[in-house]
């Protein structure tokens, strides 16, 4: 039964099917399967999709579809992990979002998915996110790294605000900052004191690993 349930979970991610993923996650909890083990199955499946994306066999619809399936199953397993008091092993915790005034989501979602595939615990807090919300989520999740996205030239300065807010709250030393998006350049990243910048989603996921020293 355990084998079937875990196989079902992986299949659901590889079939981009959020409803099946949720169903199999619930089944895993009902069968008393270790939620960490189930979570690792999800991560392996998303990594498989991420690898397919990097080699050019899979494309964005598959990547985002797999991420959606994983995200659908996650709350069910996370609840069980919290209940059992188990500690989830990951490369680190990432908070990711698009800055205030900017509603572009695709690049940010790609980075979030590929970071999850790398083995990070990713908290995607969406688009149009204020500096205050970034800070609040970093505190709430104990994030090791924040990934800030801005596509439009006019919203790029918002990145500076997030970094300043981190400094003001005394968090800057313990949280790595990675920036990206169409409007961001390496020069800008250096100017605002970000720890890293990469123009591509796969590169950003690798950068995240490097920044947390894993």
């Amino acid at each position: 039964m355990k084998r079937m349930v875990l196989g079902g979970l992986a299949e659901a991610v590889l079939a981009y099917d959020p409803e099946a993923a949720t169903r199999w996650a619930r089944q895993a909890v009902a069968e008393g399967i270790d939620p960490i083990e189930a979570l690792n199955v999800l991560t392996d499946a998303i990594r498989q999709v991420g690898d397919g994306f990097e080699t050019g066999e899979l494309f964005l619809p598959e990547l985002v579809g797999a991420a959606g399936a994983m995200q659908a199953a996650m709350p069910v397993l996370q609840e069980q992990i919290d209940r059992s008091g188990a500690v989830r092993q990951s490369l680190g915790v990432i908070v990711i979002g698009t800055v205030f005034g900017d509603i572009h989501t695709i690049g940010k979602t790609m980075v979030a998915t590929l970071c999850a595939a790398e083995g990070f615990e990713v908290h995607d807090i969406g688009v149009n996110v204020t500096a205050e919300k970034f800070v609040d989520c970093i505190i709430a999740t104990g994030a090791d790294l924040v990934a800030i996205s801005a596509l439009m030239t006019m919203t790029v300065p918002e990145i500076r605000k997030v970094i300043r807010a981190l400094e003001q709250k005394g968090l800057r030393d313990r949280v790595k900052v990675m920036v990206g998006g169409g409007g961001v350049t390496e020069t800008f990243a250096e100017q605002v004191g970000a720890d890293g910048y990469d123009p591509t989603a796969p590169g950003a996921a690798k950068l995240a690993r490097k920044l947390v020293g894993k």
């Binding site: 050019g56 494309f59 964005l60 619809p61 509603i103 989501t105 695709i106 690049g107 790609m110 030239t153 006019m154 919203t155 790029v156 300065p157 169409g182 409007g183 350049t185 591509t200 989603a201």
Partner: protein, 503 residues
Amino acid sequence: MAMNGFVRKFKPLEILTEEQVRAIHLATLDVLETTGVRMEHKGGLKLLEKHGCKVDWEQNRARMPAGLVEECLAKVPSQFRLRARNPKNDLLMGGDRVYFQTFAGMQSIDLETWEPRPPTRKENYDAVLVQDACPNLHFLSTYTPWFGWKGLPPVMSIPESDASRLRYSTKAIETGSSYDSEVFAIMLAQAVGADVLGYMGGSPPLTWYENAVEACFRLVGAGFPLQVISGNTMGANGPASIAGSTVTNNAELMSGIVLAQLIRPGTPMMVMDFCFPQNMRGGGPLFGDIGAFLHNVVFNQIWRSYGIPTKTPPAGASNSKQIDYQCGYEKAMGALLNALSGTNVIPLQGGLNGELTRHPLISILDDDMAAMIGRFLNGVEVTDESIALDLINQVGPIPGFYLDKAHTRNWWRKEQVMTSVADRLTYPEWMRTGKKSALDYAKERMEQIVGTHKPEPLTPHQEQAVEDILKEARDYYRKKGLIGEEDWQLYLEQLESPGYPYA
């Protein structure tokens, strides 16, 4: 009478049957009535509710009866005049007229490395000069033509941009709306006695944020014409199919039209199709893709059936990073297909990689493309004189010859386009003159324009008014905390420079 621009003298290219147009139309009305649009603006929702829309106040959703939508579409004038600073540059939007417009971009490009870089203030004003000097560029787009320049606070981008175009050109202009910028755009246009085509930008799918709706109220309230814009990325924030994406795009545009026509019935309007397929590898839009042009052709056909003027920016966009073969063929296909299918405005001159980069040299190159497309639109004159039956019979076979005939002298200039920078030399001439390319000629032409072109200046009174409005904008944004001290100090260096406002 508007003197500029081109007129299409033949039937437009249509690729849908009447039944297909009807099916898309009915689906669009269904979306507006069943799903409606999200509108983050209480005043807008109240107005819609008052006129029969069902408003869900918890979700800020307005569902629009089909009858109201069709009634509002019918109120939009099929043509309108957009007054320029100099009346000789007025535009008559709609019908079979086709105008070419600047294609704006976030950054400039380095011509050695082809990498993007921010332009300077002087480069911006020089680029406006080039726009003023291009004979086939009729309409100046929002932005400077760049989205800003070094040391310019982002919130001042649109007001400074509007001012630079009014100072250095008398051609018709449009404006964007961001952080209340339309307030200053209205004041600037009124100060110089021109119109400004306003901007109401939707956020796909099916969403209007507060600033877009507020801009609509302000611009329509001030009596200016309005363009409603939507641009879903097919497969991302719109359906991947061209027909489906047309439905959501048109639903957004129609809902904007309903609002504007309820604010002021009869408001002149234009709709803009800014849709691209999603690049399923890198995540950005596929600029210069044939799918975008198919979308435009369908769009032009449908909106012509409503009698509402159209604008289609994908025509001038490319995915190339260099001024190269790809850039040329993508832009040429887009511009020509749009011209043939009946768009009224083609944003073309200057754009390179979508909205990310542009360069004035491309404006000069594109202007030749616009000249050729304009010639094509003019069609073929078939008269006794052009058929030249008597002449053909008179010249007969070899050694008959046409170069020395009066008919040739009368007709060749009408039929051919005299390009400005295209390389049309023979090999010996080309080798003797340094093997120059069109890009080399464009560089020479740009130097000539920057060195010699004199735009018609604002009157001292108008210049003072423009400067006063910019000062008001700066004060407004500083008070709102949207220009930080660090940005202000950088900006101040420009404002206090002896070259201000041009360098």
